[in-house]
Amino acid sequence: MIYLILFWEFFKVGLFAVGGGLATIPFLYNLSEKFNWFSVSELTNMIAVSESTPGPLGVNMATYAGIQTHGFLGGVTATFGLVLPSLFVIIVISRFLNKFKENQIIKSIFYGLRPAVAVMICIFLVALLSVVLKETQGIYHIIISIILFLCYLGLVFRFKWHPIFFIILGAFMGILLE
């Protein structure tokens, strides 16, 4: 029964949180008030842990919340509840898109969407860089970070290595430089 409630509550979060993982935070806050599954300070911890672990933020949050309340099975239940609405919604949209792919209006909608998406990813990139620079203390470290970033850029443009390789390289350099 408790699993059903857990599933249902996170199903609702998945259904109504539109956008990235951060969009789930208000809903989780609401859950912490409604049930005694986790406190607000635990929620803050969750956000911190989710942000620095691999995987989508929203999924990490659901798993963490589920485990905090009902152990491993709770984590699986909450995550499953969270992602299920996506499955329904996307399948319906995919069917619709396949049918109307050549429709002029659908085409012009995507013509408008593409530049907007490119800009939003661009702004994400700038935000990420400014977070890194804010974290870095001292002019010496900042200069090293900038040089390192330029080196990464050169490597990425020059060689078509797998991103996993670069991510591991980045982790390694992060440890080495501290």
Partner: protein
């Protein structure tokens, strides 16, 4: 076999994505576009739709790709694949491995990774801009989206909806002139 490939690709993507939906773009591009599973244009469309539909963007995009390649079972494979690393890692953390995360070596590694992601994203953004800026109308949409997001902090959902409307509007206008 293709199901396992789908699962494995998205398992890797989930494992090496730090920081949510947009940060997984370089991984998606390498794993999917290079294999011929999707095109760059389709990926952008998935992001645009994932942004305005319920659920977490990363999950929505994964479901889209899985469904496109192998129907509902394919969608389930990609979904389980991307969620699995989160469940494993968060479970380990919650059951008492938190000291690993407070460890300064791990924190430095994450700092290092944050510097790599922008470098991985830049070539993709340039490619996207080249492809999406097909005429003056698209440039207008790009500038408006930038102002709306960067200067006014408008929600991505509203920007995607607005960009879609402008796309239809500009296309109409173009056809009338011709």
């Amino acid at each position: 076999m293709i199901y396992f490939q789908l699962f494995w690709s998205f398992f890797k993507i989930g494992l090496f994505t730090f920081g949510g939906g947009y940060a997984m773009l370089p991984m998606l591009q390498k794993e999917l576009v290079c294999r011929g599973w999707t095109t760059d244009d389709e990926l952008m469309d998935y992001y645009a739709i994932g942004q305005v539909t319920p659920g977490i963007i990363a999950i929505n995009v994964s479901t889209f790709v899985g469904y496109k390649i192998k129907g509902i079972v394919g969608a389930l494979c990609t979904m389980v694949g991307i969620v699995m690393p989160s469940i494993i890692i968060i479970s380990l953390l919650a059951t008492g491995l938190t000291y690993v995360w407070d460890n300064s070596v791990v924190q430095h590694a994450f700092k290092g990774i944050r510097l790599v992601i922008p470098a991985l994203l830049l070539p993709i953004i340039i490619k996207m801009l080249k492809k999406s800026l097909v005429d003056l109308g698209a440039v207008c949409i790009l500038i408006l989206a930038f102002i709306a997001n960067f200067c006014f902090g408008l929600s991505p959902i509203l920007i995607v909806l607005g960009a879609g409307c402008l796309g239809v509007l500009f296309s109409r206008f173009k056809r009338k002139k011709v």
